[in-house]
């Protein structure tokens, strides 16, 4: 190494530090968001095949989503309080003619039945995700969470948290644009 290169090398630590500093500073300036968007948007649904939450033989399969029409895929649970608040909006979306598939996370059929009787049942089918495995595979971090899946089984959009009354129009638009 020539003396010149050594002299340049001596400034490397400072340059590395300044780069880190810039990245950290940009992290400080950007608004802090705890919502972590799924990396699966734009990807096909990961394969899954779940037993029914209603005690019947109707399973919920990833392959079943590619039927030519868009679906909402709603992660919920009977033990989840915000899911109760979300229920009227889901019913409204169903009444607008949208198919909603439910995935109940770490739940039991008896508790589910009680939840559906009390809060209404907007779901075409309900699958039981006892290990949160499907939830993880879709990149969802909690309940409730809703995905828009188009007619080819491709995940198009994600809504983190409960769907509030103000979100219904957006959800309907998102589903319609996913034809």
């Amino acid at each position: 190494m020539t003396l010149r290169t050594i002299r340049i090398l001596l400034w490397l630590p400072l340059i590395a530090f300044l780069l880190i500093l810039a990245a950290v500073a940009s992290g400080l300036i950007k608004p802090h968001s705890t919502n972590v968007p799924s990396q699966m948007i734009g990807q096909p649904l990961p394969p899954f095949d779940l037993a029914s939450g209603r005690g019947d033989a109707i399973r919920v399969r990833a392959a079943g989503f590619a039927d030519g029409k868009p679906h909402l895929l709603n992660f919920f649970a009977s033990w989840c309080v915000p899911c109760v608040g979300e229920a009227p909006q889901l019913l409204a979306i169903k009444q607008a003619g949208i198919a909603i598939e439910g995935i109940a996370v770490r739940d039991r059929p008896a508790d589910l039945a009680e939840f559906l009787t009390r809060n209404g049942d907007p779901y075409d089918r309900i699958g039981l995700d006892d290990t949160s495995g499907v939830q993880m595979a879709l990149g969802s971090s909690g309940v409730p969470e809703t995905f828009v899946v188009d007619g080819h089984g491709i995940i198009r959009a994600q809504h983190i948290g409960a769907i509030g009354p103000q979100d219904v129009a957006d959800m309907l638009a998102a589903v319609r644009s996913a034809q």
Partner: protein, 642 residues
């Protein structure tokens, strides 16, 4: 009045820090010699003022003075006295005040005890210490005033995080901070030496005890913190790669590297630039850690407050201090005369390899910790977890341990590969035998734990090798220190490998009367009763664990419910035996009169912390050996005195 006294003391200390920086750096100018004498007393008085402020904070917390905003927000009269006092540093402002108190005390300690450093370098060092303190005083006074009053004091405080209501809080943060902030001395030494261009063996010998001292506390703090998280969080894990854990690990890695390179500089006058660089990096990592935790930019159990304004403030301080020191390094180090050269196959060579590997691990941890921020800057949100850290840092750490085992058996300056081979033959044979034994006795072991166990056996043998054929009474204390510390690494490694390879976990919903098996134990759930503590209520399980024909062990894990602030904590109950720990947690009630029970059998897990303690003990022996060199050098006259 107490809070105001604290605030005034803080203001005076800040003014003195400014004066200290001015005098220290001013002494370097031609004709600045008269300032030399004034620097030491200023640093001492500055520390006294800071300690006064900290004492006032302890006092307002001990008396639960609810007119002080910090007390009202983070304490309550219903707390036991211990947590009313330790609560003083269980929050952002108080913990920053403790940080700066230790910084000021470090500066004062240098002013009082440092006699070996040349006067000008010492003045610059104390000046740098004052400059660092000044920035953090400004941070405290402008954005985190711990003594702020409330116009209308509330009738009761908002309470104190139940997870922190543990005797561990009295010990872990102060120890860790002494280590963390103690590294500021090495940083200031480096800045001082860069300014006076006086880098050499004498400088290294002066710096070594300061680095050792900080490193001992850092080691103890991390070890204690790991054990605290292990029993308090109730998750059965001992290291989570949490940003804050990483924030303490990174300075430790840099300080460990520094400790070894400063030895090369002291004994062989090599690695001058590298040692200075590490001294800057070690404390920089402490400050980066402080920033990461205090800004709340990475969410963590340790983040008290999410406040981007505070984050920006610390970030500016970081830019000034670290950037300034690195710029000084770039500008000055080329003018520092080059030290001695050495052969790659030598003690120095092994130490350089150790340094590079430690730095590589440091890089891995730093990138992993900052990764969420780096990707966020590019528009995506990804964080990395234990799989990344274990996979990336684990193998490097194992190579590092192997070199650590061989290094002390090599000669300084130049060695022959054949001779080294002969000396490491016995530990190498032990590694091979252990490998065969483990492969035969425990087939199907994962690769990292397997290598860990095998290497631990070889390293344990290699670490005591320097004592071979030596008169143990005449062996210098610092050699003992090295032996004990390296043995500690082997012990800790054995514990980690054993815990990760052989832990057994059972999660059940049990009715009182049920018996559950975990590892060698049959655990009988005898009863679940409600109990009341000083500021919580709890359900307490009574577990009776038996192993073969042995005497039964009674364990009482609790699920505590605190109401101020409302929070539940799982209080684990642990039975420690020579060959491991039985770790029990009681969880939520399950319909049908059952309770969630989570049980672990963790063979030899205690070795992890025993090893950590040995490492720190080794450091302490070394420090003692360097502090009392004459006593050892005196000839031993046996048979004379009776």
């Amino acid at each position: 009045m107490i809070a105001e006294t604290g605030l005034i003391a803080l203001l005076i200390a800040a003014a003195l820090a400014l004066l200290q920086a001015f005098l220290g750096f001013g002494a370097l100018r031609p004709g600045g010699e008269p300032l030399l004498r004034a620097v030491r007393p200023v640093a001492i008085v500055q520390a006294a003022m800071t300690v006064t402020a900290f004492a006032m904070l302890l006092l307002v917390f001990a008396r639960t003075d609810l007119s002080v905003k910090l007390v009202a927000e983070d304490s309550a009269t219903t707390l036991p006295l211990l947590y009313r006092i330790t609560g003083a540093w269980g929050n952002h402002e108080g913990s920053m005040l403790m940080w700066i108190t230790i910084l000021a005390l470090s500066g004062a300690a240098v002013a009082i005890f440092e006699r070996r450093l040349p006067e000008r370098t010492l003045a610059a060092t104390i000046g740098a210490q004052g400059l660092i303190a000044l920035g953090f005083f400004a941070f405290l006074l402008f954005s985190s005033n711990p003594f702020e009053r409330l116009a209308t004091p509330p009738a009761e405080g908002a309470g104190f995080n139940p997870l922190l209501q543990d005797p561990g809080l009295a010990f872990h943060p102060p120890t860790l901070y002494v280590g963390y902030v103690g590294l500021s001395v090495a940083f200031s030494f480096a800045v001082g030496a860069l300014l006076t261009r006086d880098v050499g063996p004498a400088f290294a010998r002066a710096m070594r005890p300061w680095v050792l001292g900080a490193w001992i506390f850092l080691t103890l703090g991390i070890t204690a913190g790991s054990y605290w998280a292990y029993y308090e969080l109730g998750w059965g894990g001992w290291w989570f790669w949490d940003p804050t854990e990483n924030a303490s690990l990174m300075p430790w890695l840099a300080a460990t590297a520094l400790l070894h390179s400063v030895s090369v500089l002291a004994t062989r006058d090599g690695l001058r630039a590298w040692t200075i660089m590490l001294a800057v990096v070690a404390f920089s990592m402490s400050m980066v850690g402080t920033f990461l935790v205090r800004s709340g930019i990475l969410t963590s159990v340790h983040a008290f407050a999410l406040d981007p304004r505070r984050g920006a403030f610390i970030l500016i301080l970081l830019a000034l201090y670290i950037g300034g020191a690195l710029a000084l390094f770039g500008a000055r180090i080329a003018t520092v005369a080059e030290g001695n050269r050495f052969d790659p196959i030598s003690r120095e060579g092994a130490l350089v390899a150790n340094n590079l590997l430690l730095s590589a691990i440091l890089g891995v941890v730093l990138i992993g910790t900052l990764y969420p921020l780096l990707t966020q800057a590019m528009g995506t949100q990804i964080s990395v977890g234990p799989p990344y850290f274990n996979a990336a840092a684990g193998p490097i750490a194992l190579i590092l341990v192997a070199i650590m085992a061989a290094g002390p058996m090599m000669r300084w300056r130049r060695d022959r590969l054949v001779d080294v081979g002969r000396r490491v033959a016995i530990p190498a044979a032990i590694v091979v035998v252990a490998l065969v034994v483990v492969l035969v006795a425990l087939p199907g072991l994962r690769i990292l734990p397997l290598l860990g166990l095998v290497l631990a056996a070889g390293t344990a043998a290699a670490s005591v090798a320097p004592l071979w054929k030596r008169n143990l009474r005449r062996t210098p204390l610092f050699t003992w220190g090295m032996v004990v510390a390296h043995l500690g690494v082997a012990v800790s490694l054995a514990g980690m490998a054993s815990e990760s390879a052989f832990s057994q976990e059972t999660l059940v919903a049990a009715r009182p009367g049920d018996t559950v098996r975990v590892g060698p134990y049959a655990v009988h759930l005898a009863a679940v009763d409600p109990v009341a503590g000083p500021n919580y209520t709890a359900v307490r399980a009574t577990l009776v664990a038996t192993r073969g024909q042995g005497a039964p062990i009674v364990l009482h894990p609790e699920q505590r419910t605190f109401d101020n602030p409302p929070q539940q904590t799982a209080e684990s109950a642990i039975a420690t035996r020579l060959d491991g720990q039985l770790y029990t947690v009681v969880g939520e009630p399950v319909p049908g009169g059952r309770w969630q029970l989570r049980l672990w059998w963790k063979p030899f897990v205690t070795l992890i912390w025993a090893g950590g303690t040995l490492i720190a003990l080794g450091g302490a022996l070394s420090l003692l050996g360097r502090a009392l060199p004459r006593r050892r050098a005196r000839p031993v006259r046996e048979g004379y005195a009776r």
